[in-house]
Symmetry: C2
Subunit: 195 residues, 2 copies
DNA sequence: TTTTTAACTGAACATCCGTTCATAAGAAAA
DNA sequence: TTTTCTTATGAACGGATGTTCAGTTAAAAA
C-alpha cells in the first residue's frame, strides 16, 4: 500500500517538521527515534527519507528555520529612533516572538551540542547576528548618555539571558497576560542599564 | 581478569561520577552510553552496575548531589544583614559557585526532562528552595523600601536567569577575572530592582 | 484508457543499547 | 598457606537504532 488519499508531499513535509519539533522539544534529539517521528506523522520510518537526507539535517533545518524567522522578524521590527525606544522595542519583540515558540526556542538552546561542527558554526553565526542587534542598541544608548554599564558584551548577554529565561517558567493561561509580562520585563531591563 | 592493582571501589566510584558528569555535559544524557562511560573509567560496562542500580539513578545522583552542594553552600553564606547586602551576597555567591561547575550546572538545567517523574519532582523541589532564597531577599528589600519591582516572582526568575546565563558564555582564561565579572553583574542586578 | 510518476511500505542491514550473570582473580583475613 | 570477599570480566539477552531499497499503489499525465 502506498500513497493514500490526500497524502502528498505538501502535507507530509510540514507534518514531519511539526512532529519532529514537538518530539525533540519534549524528549531531546538523541532520545527521539526516526520511528517515533514517523509514527506521529502516520507513516513508516523509511518514508521520512523522502523529506530529509538524515536525522541530523532534520535538526539543523528546524534550528535554521527558527533563527531565520527570528532575524527576519526583527529586521521588520527595528525602525530606528532613540536608544531607549529601540531597547523597549527589542525587549517587547523578544518576548512576543519567543513566547509562542516555546518548542523552537527550547530546541535552539538545548540541542546545539547535537549539531555537527559545520551546522553548529552556521547556527552560532545567526545567533551572534541577533545578539549584535541588541549590542548595537546598548552601544548607541551609551553614546547618547542614556545607558550605563561596565561591560557592553556582558550587558548584552545578561539581558538576553534574562529575557530568554522567561521561556523556562512561562505557561499559557497563567496569571499574567503577555502584555503585562512585556511591561514587567521592560521595567527590569530599562533600569538595569539606566545611568 | 579482575581487580587489577589499585582498583578499589573507593577509586572507581568517584571515577564513574566524574566520567558521567563530563560525558553527559558534553553529549547529553540520552546520547551517552554506559559503554562510553565505562571506557572512560577504564572498565567494562557491567562493572558500573556495582556502583549504580541503573543509568537513570546515575543522572539523578549527579543532579541531587549538585543541588545539595548548592543549598548547603548558600546556607553557609547567607548571614543576614540589610536586603541590599544580602542581594549582593547572593549575586556574588551564585556566580562564584556556578562558574567553576560548568558541567554540573549545564546538566542540572538541560537534563531535567530525562529524569523520571519522581526524580524530577525531587530536583524541582530543591531548585525552588534555592529560588526561595532570592525571593526572600527581594521581598525583604521591597518591605525596606530599597527595592522596587512590579512582580516578585518574575523579578526572582529574571535575576536567576540573568546570572545563570553567565555559564553559557563564560570561558576560563577569558579577558575578565571572576571578581570583575561578579562586580559587573552586581551592578546590573542592583540597578534592575532599584527604587 | 493507458502510461508515468510521486509517495509510501515493509523487510532487511549492521550496529548499538541497558542490563544480567556465571566466572575469574587479586587482595585481605584467617 | 588457605579461605573469604570484593571487584571485575566478557559473553549473552531481547530489543532498538539510522538508513537503504526493491516493490507496490494511487494519483496525474498522456
Amino acid at each position: 500500500m502506498a500513497r493514500k488519499q490526500g497524502s502528498h508531499s505538501d502535507i507530509t513535509g510540514p507534518k514531519l517538521r511539526k512532529a519532529a519539533r514537538r518530539l525533540i522539544a519534549q524528549h531531546g534529539f538523541a532520545a527521539v527515534s526516526m520511528r517515533q517521528i514517523a509514527a506521529e506523522v502516520g507513516v513508516q520510518a523509511g518514508a521520512l527519507y523522502n523529506y530529509t537526507p538524515d536525522k541530523q539535517s532534520l535538526l539543523f533545518d528546524l534550528m535554521r528555520e527558527h533563527m531565520d524567522e527570528l532575524l527576519t522578524a526583527w529586521d521588520v521590527e527595528e525602525k530606528g529612533g532613540s536608544a531607549l525606544e529601540r531597547l523597549e522595542r527589542f525587549t517587547r519583540f523578544h518576548i512576543r516572538f519567543n513566547l509562542p515558540r516555546a518548542d523552537e526556542v527550547f530546541i535552539a538552546y538545548m540541542e546545539l551540542r547535537n549539531l555537527s561542527p559545520e551546522n553548529f558554526a552556521e547556527i552560532e553565526k545567526l545567533r551572534r547576528q541577533y545578539e549584535a542587534g541588541l549590542e548595537d542598541i546598548l552601544r548607541a544608548g551609551e553614546a547618547e548618555g542614556v545607558f550605563a554599564f561596565t561591560d557592553l558584551r556582558i550587558a548584552t548577554m545578561a539581558l538576553i539571558a534574562m529575557l530568554t529565561g522567561l521561556n523556562t517558567w512561562y505557561r499559557e493561561n497563567g496569571r499574567l497576560s503577555v502584555a503585562e509580562i512585556e511591561t514587567i520585563y521592560w521595567d527590569l531591563v530599562r533600569k538595569s542599564v539606566a545611568v
